[in-house]
């Protein structure tokens, strides 16, 4: 009988616990910052402007986030302290950025973005880097009808999640990226045989299709040994086939570890192509250094931002060169290109929110859509797909002064405002 009582007691306790839990959930809507319903009264007692950044703080994509805290301090310091905030409904409000970690995973990205929208009730939702970080967050923005801004993915793959109503993007265009890569090859003396090394991921599939289309009817000859699976660690078969075909140009789209192994094995198998274009995996100087033995010298890729761009940030009033130098002065190592994206984001948000003058969702969305300002990417405005196209231009790793390698722009025909140098050939040979 005693046991029975205990059981009942536990059951009752569980019921109470459950009730408390539900009540807590229910109360969540009032417990927040009170901005859930009715934008008008919400704005009146708002203390700050909230930007929610569903970001890959951990995982393989975390490398893109390396400069984000630094840029945040730089820009928010300027907006909140120098300018005193952004005027919303006649009152100057500071901007605050809240991060939620996507762990570089598409499932978690949705969870993180949902949490930012529903719990933190952010005014603008941000998602970044690769389709995993952008398409997912854009989807959440559509579901909850929140102004959503995403960047750092190919425009083509981002648009596959559209048509968007609430999501806006700042992406590079894969077509233009590939065009400049081909322009770069044009400047070099090769046998015009291009060997593809693509994985089956987004960039790989889009890349294969785009290059094939661009090279059709030219005197380039494509050799395609077939795609490999991400995470492969033996490229014997691929390298042997490329070597057999005598390709002077290797056109690769690989993540860093895959390329690191691939490139090492190229040397191990005595095959060093004259030109190697590696997208996605070799954007950072320390990664190129990590290849070891100076084998990174002469690798070409599509830079997504460079300090030699002749542009400046309209918010900070600094040129690209000044921003990059400031970063290198205050941090260790070569400046990461993702600085450009982060600074441009603050340029755009500051401009749009100032023009909107309110936190009404519709007004904020419209203000962002009306953007037409000078940023570290040059002048940016939206195209019909709600996307701003930013440059992705042919660049090469060359021996540097300050660090082991430096990068120079070698082909910028799609964005002619950016000056370009002549590329050179890797001092290896294609053996048969």
């Amino acid at each position: 009988m005693k046991k029975l009582k205990k059981r009942k007691l536990i059951a009752a306790l569980l019921c109470v616990l459950f009730a408390i839990m539900l009540a807590a959930c229910g109360g969540g809507s009032n417990g927040g910052d009170g901005g859930s319903d009715g934008n008008a009264d919400a704005a009146a007692d708002r203390e700050e402007i909230l930007v929610g950044f569903a970001a890959p703080l951990t995982g393989p994509l975390a490398i893109f986030m390396a400069p984000t805290p630094w840029v945040e301090t730089l820009c928010l310091d300027y907006i909140n302290n120098e300018l005193g905030g952004i005027e919303i409904d006649g009152k100057k409000l500071p901007v605050r950025v809240i991060y939620a970690d996507t762990e570089s995973d598409s499932n978690k990205a949705v969870e993180a973005a949902t949490k930012l929208v529903t719990e933190n009730k952010v005014d603008i939702l941000v998602g970044a880097w690769t389709p995993v970080g952008t398409n997912t967050v854009s989807a959440v923005g559509e579901r909850y009808s929140v102004p959503t801004f995403s960047f750092g993915a190919p425009e083509e793959s981002w648009l596959e999640g559209g048509p968007y109503e609430w999501s806006m993007g700042m992406q590079f265009n894969y077509d233009k990226l590939c065009t400049d890569v081909v322009n770069m090859w044009d400047k070099l003396d090769t046998n015009k045989k291009v060997g593809f090394v693509f994985d089956t991921d987004v960039d790989g599939t889009v890349g294969r299709e785009t290059y094939t289309r661009l090279l059709e009817g030219t005197d380039y000859e494509i050799f395609d040994p077939g795609a490999y699976t991400i995470g492969n660690n033996d490229f014997t078969s691929m390298i042997s086939k490329l070597k057999d075909a005598g390709c002077d140009i290797v056109c690769a789209d690989m993540i860093t570890p895959d390329f690191t192994i691939f490139w090492k094995q190229c040397y191990q198998y005595g095959y060093v192509p004259k030109v190697c274009t590696i997208n996605k995996g070799m954007h950072y100087e320390d990664l190129v250094e990590n290849l070891g033995g100076g084998t990174g010298n002469g690798l070409t890729f599509s830079a997504l931002w460079d300090k030699n761009y002749p542009f400046s940030s309209s918010l900070l009033g600094m040129t690209c060169m000044e921003i990059a130098d400031k970063w290198e002065a205050e941090n260790e190592g070569f400046y990461p290109y993702s600085i450009g994206y982060d600074v441009a984001m603050y340029d755009i948000f500051h401009d749009a929110l100032s023009r909107a003058g309110t936190l009404d969702k519709e007004a904020v969305r419209q203000a962002i859509l009306d953007t037409n300002i000078d940023t570290v990417f040059g002048n940016l405005s939206f195209n019909g797909n709600r996307c701003m196209q930013v440059p992705a231009i042919g660049t090469q790793w060359v021996p540097g002064d300050k660090f082991e390698f430096d990068k120079v722009v070698v082909a910028s025909d799609t964005f002619p405002a950016i000056p370009a140098h002549e590329p050179f050939i890797i001092p290896g040979t294609t053996q048969n």
Binding site: S237, I261, G292
Partner: protein, 290 residues
Amino acid sequence: MELFVQSLVSGLLLGGLYAAVGVGLSLVFGIMGLTNIAHGCLMILSSFFIMVFARHMSGSVVAAFILTVLVMCVIGALLQGVLINRVLAKGPEPALLVTFGVAIVIWNVLQLIFGADFKSIPSPMASVNAVNTRWVVISGEYLFNFAVSAALILVLHLVIQKTLFGRAIRAAASNVVAAELMGINTGRTYIYIMCLALATGSVGGLLVGQTFGFYSYSGMSYLIIAFGVVVIGGMGSIIGTLLGGVILGVAQLLGAYFFGSGVQILVGYLTLLTLLTLRPRGLLGNMTRE
């Protein structure tokens, strides 16, 4: 034809590395009947140790490796003594789940400390081309891996076959009760086996770290390779792991030769699955415990 020979040779050499990855699991799996899901993560843990120690010991990978082996032995003793020995008697599944939990903890702790960046251990053989003929090209690194791994397996085989310690192990493997009656403390023997397994795992960690590099979460993908090696070669058969590794490596590269690089990994898995179904006890299984 050249490409076929090339695939065969590279696959064979790659198999050596796979054997080094799997041999520790073979010991644990065959003798204790423990499905150590944490094997891959423990191996990657040793890779991290080697990397960190090497950085602090003026880049001496050899010294870092020796220190890592010692550290891994301590970890193995703790793991076996504190956790696994307590659940082994309850049957295979609880032990499997414990190691699964340990694997998740290790990989997330590594991620917490080192992030998810790609790491590698510096290798003097990184861009060495050992043989370069029309028929076959051999990578210096692969050749080195195969040699190290073959030597490791030979030594391990001799230890198990010829020494007193080896006899105790084999006794524990074939009959726990009888072994205990003969005065062998199986609990302690298991601890030694785990230490041995993790020490050999460090060799795998070294070779993988130099040849391919690693992430904090690479452990799980190497676990499949380790299982492949053990299942194909036969649980508890030390020489069998070399055979298992070679079969797996050759299968992968011939798969790439015939069907393209995309299915390289898939062919490895399917070979493993087929052999698992047809011969669950492996090709050379002998020390199997029922």
